[in-house]
Symmetry: C2
Subunit: 261 residues, 2 copies
Amino acid sequence: MTYCISIKLDEGLVFLSDSRTNAGVDDVSTYRKMTIFNEDEDRTIVLMSSGNLAICQSIRQILIRKEQAESIWNASSLLDVAETVGEAIKKIHKRDSPTMNDLGVEFNCSFILGGQIKNEECRLFKIYSAGNFIEAGTECIYFQIGESKYGKPILDRVLNPNMNLNVAAKCALLSMDSTLRSNISVGLPLDLLVYEKNDFGISNYLSITDENSYFKEIRSSWGSYLREAFNHLKDIDWSNSKLRHSRDTYNKQLLQKKISK
Amino acid sequence: MTYCISIKLDEGLVFLSDSRTNAGVDDVSTYRKMTIFNEDEDRTIVLMSSGNLAICQSIRQILIRKEQAESIWNASSLLDVAETVGEAIKKIHKRDSPTMNDLGVEFNCSFILGGQIKNEECRLFKIYSAGNFIEAGTECIYFQIGESKYGKPILDRVLNPNMNLNVAAKCALLSMDSTLRSNISVGLPLDLLVYEKNDFGISNYLSITDENSYFKEIRSSWGSYLREAFNHLKDIDWSNSKLRHSRDTYNKQLLQKKISK
């Protein structure tokens, strides 16, 4: 499995991906999920992948080959790039899915595509196994692929579109931290890219290993803050009369007595 | 979907379940997932269910019918009760799964069974769709069924077996809160039962609606504490020289340049 997240903000985009892949617990390895297309200062395009690694690699290979790469480099809109990725998915689906179906293996891949092409705003897409896609808007400002559930609560609580880019990056890293702690199929190193709108470069990129002092610090502080906050919360007081009242009213629904036989 | 959690502590057991059921987004209703067997002061047995509601109800109906109910009331060990539940699952599986298979519907149910029978310690089991089960031990002190991922990180950070029962109940409620916020297939009211070992009663039970002042208070305080903790965490500083170093070293792996075509 894997976990990738991207957030679209007024100021730009945040991308974060892990690098663990596994085909069963006895076949775990490291593979970077992020590909960055950047040159000529007219476009920064980021693609992150999740799902069957053979499928994802095949699609990536198509996209960096001459013809499709040209269509990525020449696209005047990120929507066209999303379509190019969708076409590549359909091509691999056509090629590989009959045999995979025979073997009972699901054709499973998903992508996050984001970035900016000159004369456009920043855009962010989530692309599905069928090659179709959705775009982030003002209400839905983040996309996750892979093991998304563990890290979703913190995003839902904290994110908003006019947040500072680095604050949102911190939120993405905490979301990743929760995922890393609860699921061994997600692992370091991480790739973090914070893209400021109209930059058309890759000014703020970071490869995060377990040696990274910033990530180490926020992981450990976050853990301490959470435990402290937890300890500050009031414990339940069963002597409270309102509670006692509700204790007397539950029987009918839940309780089984011997007399019911 | 649903979300239930149970925690086994030195002092006793905590049980918490939601009550939402849905067969598609246009068929949402409320059904309590918790059944309590208690009488004669020699046993308190709690069963919580998740999965296909028709399956879960069928299994529950079997368990409260004369013969099986007797075996629950007469069991001298909770292990025997787990086996009785397992047998009920197998019975319904045999009866319903052929037609369900034909219709492409998965035979999907899981249960948490916990409690205490006189002359035994508190015990806690997780029972699968196949009727087989596992028991909680000193390393693995909690079980979740249903939508378990959203609420797992807080459990992994906070729980330990010698925790006070009410503190663990608070942790279960926060785990539920994260799940409620991120997944609409889980909903109020909640059933909370905190069982103190050797009680053989149901002294501390609470039905929690959105009117419940304790739950309202910890939800809102927890949200504020989290945002406060989040704001206290240091933001990333891109001018840091160590970061800049790593920014120069990523190109080979991730970056696509036009020259690659």
